[in-house]
Each structure stands twice: as C-alpha cells, then as structure tokens.
Amino acid sequence: MRMPDAERAQLRREGLKTALLMAPAVIVFIGLFVAPLAWFFVQSFWRNATFRVVPDFQFGNYATAFRDYGGVLLRTLGTGLEVGGITTVLAFFFAYAVRFALGRAGPLILVIALTTLFGGYVVKVYAWRSLLGLDGILNGALMAAGLTDAPVEALLFNAGAVTVTLTHYLLPLAILPLYGALADMDETVIAAARDSGASAPRTMFDIVLPQIRPALIASFAMSFLLAAGDYVTPALVGSPGNAMYGNFIQSQFGLRMNTPLGAAMSFSLLGCCLLILATVWLVMRRVLRAR
C-alpha cells in the first residue's frame, strides 16, 4: 500500500526535526568522545621509540599491559568490585530506609546525603586523610577513650583507607538511581507479597530487588567503574605498594611518555571492566528474576 504524499511529507518533516534537535549533542559526542577514543585505540597498536611514536600494527603493548601489569590489573578490578559491591549495598539500605522507614524525616536525610556531592572529590580525600591520619580525629578519639596509647598507624596509607574513601565518595551517586527506583515502587506491592505469606526477607528477594534490578545494576556499574578507574585516591591515602592500574596508566602518559602502552593499558582496563559488568548483569538477571 502506498502512503499518501501528505503523510509522507509529514513524516519527512518530523524526521528532519528530530535530526536537527539531536545534531548538537551528536557533534559534541563524536568530536569530544568518540574521535579521541578512536585515535588512542589506533595508537595502542603503535610502537614507542625513543621520544617518538611509530605507526605499526602489533599487540606488544597489550601483551605488556597484561604481563607486566597483570597483578595490578587484578588488584584494581578486585578493589573496584569490593567498592562497587559495598557501595551498592549501603546505598540500597540507605535508599530503602529513606523510602519506607524514615517517614517524614526521610527526604531531609536524603537531601543532606546528596549535599555532600557539592564538596569536591579531592576535598573528601583530604578529609579522610585528616580523619584517619596519625594526628587525625579517629586516633585522637581512640587515645582519649584509652583504647590505645600511641596513634594507630594502620588506619591510613593502605588498601582499607582507599576502599573507605572511595565508598564514601561514591555513596551519594549510587543512592540516586536506587532511591528513584524505590520511590516509583508501589508500597501495596510489598503489602501484597507479605499478604501472600512472604516473610520480610523473602519479599525483599522475590519482589523488591527484582523490580529495581536496573537501578541496582546502574548503581553498581557507576561505583565499580569510577572505583576501578580511580588514581587520585590511591595516590593520596593508599600505600605505594597498592597503587592501582590507573596510577600506572597515568605514569605511561606522563613520566614515561609511552602513549601507545598507556593507551593499550587503558583499553585493557576498559575491556576487563565491561566484561565484568556484562557478567554482573547476567548473574543479576539470573538471580533476581521472577519466579
């Protein structure tokens, strides 16, 4: 069947309108994101000669990225998983309490939690430094309480401090999608599950979590990616022994001026992260499904 000409013209106009509306965003996206990324992707197969980069097509950079930096890569992904997991769980409990348990105080507490987003990222890192440091508040409190005689050194400059700092920084970001999903959820659904005979934990696993699965994945993905890609926090509150992959990438681009290896390492980390996220997505879909 042929469409009447008027209708076709109408469709064409609509299409043109959409294209015009999207054009600025698409141009910015391609120019500032896709193009540089593609450029670095090409370079990741090039070779580094003394102070210059030679076009080539070889996988040596990737071999180095995994061979020489394999341990760091694993530790980085581990930290990412740990921070992503802890952050998502904490964010869920927080959002759940705000939505269902705190009543009128809930929104206020949510706003307070979100205002911490205004404090810059580096500010927070330094805040934790002064909290956990030798003359920090925590040590001061421990000594005042008589629990220790000398300040505890184990608080700062280790993997634990990195995890704590990253979790604190990522928490408000992870709360947002979860609270949004829970706010959309009808309380009657929970009541109906309880009415059908489900205990509170059963209701959580059978009804609440599956219904907000996309938000759970979004929160986890965001905190996992930001944690795994971070290189500022480990430099400031971590120990030199547990620098993350990002620190080594940074030094390839900076001090060592080895752009091809830096690019290859970046894409290795990116690839691994995407692989992990895909796995998490599949597992979540299996575990949190309708039964």
Partner: protein, 354 residues
C-alpha cells in the same frame, strides 16, 4: 452462642497525627458471614481493612481471629488475604506467576500449583492472559488478577477492598455470582468494601455503614434498608425522601392533605423517610400529600417523578416517587396536580439530621 464469631474487633482505633481515621470500633463477624462495609470516600474503610490484614498498626484496640489475638502479628503470619484497592500486582511477573506466588511460598507440589492456578484463572476469565506480564493489563484485568491471587490461598478472612470497582456491569454481575459460589465453597469470612449498594445487597448478609471513622449502623441488608438509624444511613443506602417536619403532641403532619403520622415521643424536629418506591401518585388534589409534578424522568423499567409539595410550615420540599410506567396517572406532565399517597407503615421517623 450459636455461631462463635471468627473475627472480632475490640476498640480498634487508628489515628494519623491529630486526625482519627478510625474511631474505636467494636465488631464481631461470624464464620460464614459475607460482611459488607459501606461508606463515603475517606471514612476509614481501607484503614480498617488494612488493620485487620496487618498492614496498618492500630493506635489502640485488638484484632482477634478465631479467638486468637493477632494484633501484633505481621500479615504473613495472619490467616487473612486481601484484595487491594489499587491491586498491588507484582509487575515483574506474569499473570500466572502472580497467582501462583502464594502457593509457591507454601511449597506445594508443582503439578498441584499448576492445576489450581488454571482453575483460578478460568474463574476470573483470565486464562487467555496467563502468560502476559501483569503490568500490561487493563485496570479490570489487574483487579481480577488481584482477586485470583487472594482467593487461591483460601484465607479464613478475605478482605476485599472494592474488588470489582473497575469492572463493567456485565462482568461485575458475573463476578458477583462467582464470589457467592466461592464463598459457599471455601467458607470463611468475606469482608467487602464497596460503594455499590446493589453489590452489597446482592452479596452480603451483614452490612456496616461507616461515616467519619465510626460505624453508623450495622445489621442485615434489609434491616439497614428498611430501618436506617439516621438520615445519613437512609440516604446512603438506596434512594430516600427525607422530609423535614415537626412532631407535635405525638403526631407528625407532613403537609397539605397528608394523613397525620402517629409518632410517640417529645415534640422535636424530625426527618420522615419515605422510599421513592413506596409512593403512589393519584391525579388531582384528593386525599394525599398535595403536590405538582416538576419533572418525569424515564429510567427504563420505571420512571422517576419529581414532585414539589409544601411542608406544614409552608416551605417547598421535593418528593420523588419511583413508579412502574403503567401506574403513572394519565395526563401527568410537568405542572400537573397530583396527590402522593403511601401505605400506613411506610413512613419512618428519624431524628432530624444534616
């Protein structure tokens, strides 16, 4: 006592801040009662049901089921089931999964669950939709899923919060028959909240009319219809003419030509209730309340005739009669003079109300 009450409410109260949604309520509902709660929007019906089901904690009072205090038990530990006013379907599940959920929690054999679910879906006419996602249904379909989901567990006390409000008349009538059959079959106590008085009359053997968080009157449907306790209940159940008058010396005079209504008691302002179907019209001003026809409204099987009459004090009042089409007096167009008559026992004298 013949039949012990299955569900007992003792001083059940719910306050929200300074507002009292449910005033202290005492109710005893027997094992096989089909109990209906009627009342205007916001009078506390849902809150009352939610307290029985365990979703709202009472501010005061007790809920007893089978003599056992369940006031502090969570919903999953109570022998109650509820059909929620806003459905509360599990939107990530299919229709079948929604209905099967409760039985699966009870770890029934798979085959048994399958058969039960089929039967339930058939009952609510949803078999063709069994594998649709619950979120893709129409309002009426969702309501039937909610109904099937609660019914399948055969709860001792089934709480139905306007369970048929979204259905068309045809389907609603069919569901009435199903509900009665199910009640017959599985027994237990059904508690139905409804705005539809025909529904209440069809289904319930006991009715409570609520107003402002209180039970205004409780009784059998005929009791409530024939002998409402106050003008509010009279107006809420069925149509009612509530004619303002005064009792003087044990007699009430409604207006010109009306026979005096004997009514013992002190002199007071009263409302006289006359059901529209209890009235007859006679052409011309003879014996009977003198009136003029204001409007005749055709209503299918019958006609409603709105008349204007004069109160004893002289003020105008409107009286509505419902008549079969064949008993409408000839020549009763707009403005025609008529006399309104009724049987001797028809008027019910109520304390004057709002």
């Amino acid at each position: 006592m013949a039949a012990a009450s299955l569900l007992e409410l003792r001083g059940l109260t719910r306050r929200y801040g300074t507002m009292t949604a449910v005033q202290p309520i005492d109710l005893a509902i027997r094992e096989n009662d089909f109990f209906a709660i009627l009342g205007p929007s916001g009078c506390g019906k849902t809150t009352l049901l939610r307290m029985i089901g365990g979703f709202v904690q009472p501010s005061d009072g007790y809920v007893l089921i089978g003599g056992r205090d369940v006031t502090r038990l969570p919903p999953d530990k109570r022998p109650t089931g509820m059909v929620f006013q806003n459905y509360g379907l599990f939107s990530h599940m299919t229709v079948r999964q929604n209905v099967a959920y409760g039985l699966r929690l009870r770890r029934r054999p798979r085959a048994e669950i399958g058969a039960e679910v089929e039967r339930m879906l058939d009952l609510v006419h949803l078999s063709p939709y069994a594998d649709r996602p619950a979120k893709d249904l129409s309002g009426g379909q969702k309501q039937r899923v909610a109904l099937a989901r609660a019914l399948i567990l055969k709860p001792k006390v089934l709480l139905l919060d306007e369970p048929l409000a979204a259905l068309d008349l045809q389907l609603r009538k069919a569901m009435h028959q199903e509900l009665l059959a199910i009640h017959e079959a599985i027994g237990g106590t059904f508690i139905l909240v409804s705005h539809d008085q025909t529904e209440v009359m069809t289904l319930a053997n006991r009715v409570a009319v609520m107003s402002g968080g209180r039970v205004a009157q409780e009784g059998s449907p005929t009791e409530i219809y024939d002998r409402p306790a106050d003008p509010f209940v009279a107006r809420f159940i069925g149509d009612a003419n509530l004619l303002p008058a005064r009792r003087t010396g044990g007699v009430i005079l409604l207006g010109d030509g009306a026979p005096p209504i004997p009514s013992p008691g002190a002199d007071a302002a009263v409302d006289v209730m006359l059901r529209p179907e209890a009235l007859r019209l006679v052409a011309g001003h003879g014996s009977g309340l003198r009136a003029y026809i204001e409007q005749v409204v055709f209503q299918g099987s019958h006609v409603r005739v709105h008349c204007l009459a004069k109160q004893a004090g002289g003020a105008e009042m409107r009286v509505t009669a419902t008549l079969g089409r064949d008993v409408l007096p000839a020549g009763s167009g707009q403005g025609a003079a008529v006399s309104i008559t009724w049987a001797e026992g028809a008027p019910l004298v109520l304390p004057a109300g709002a």
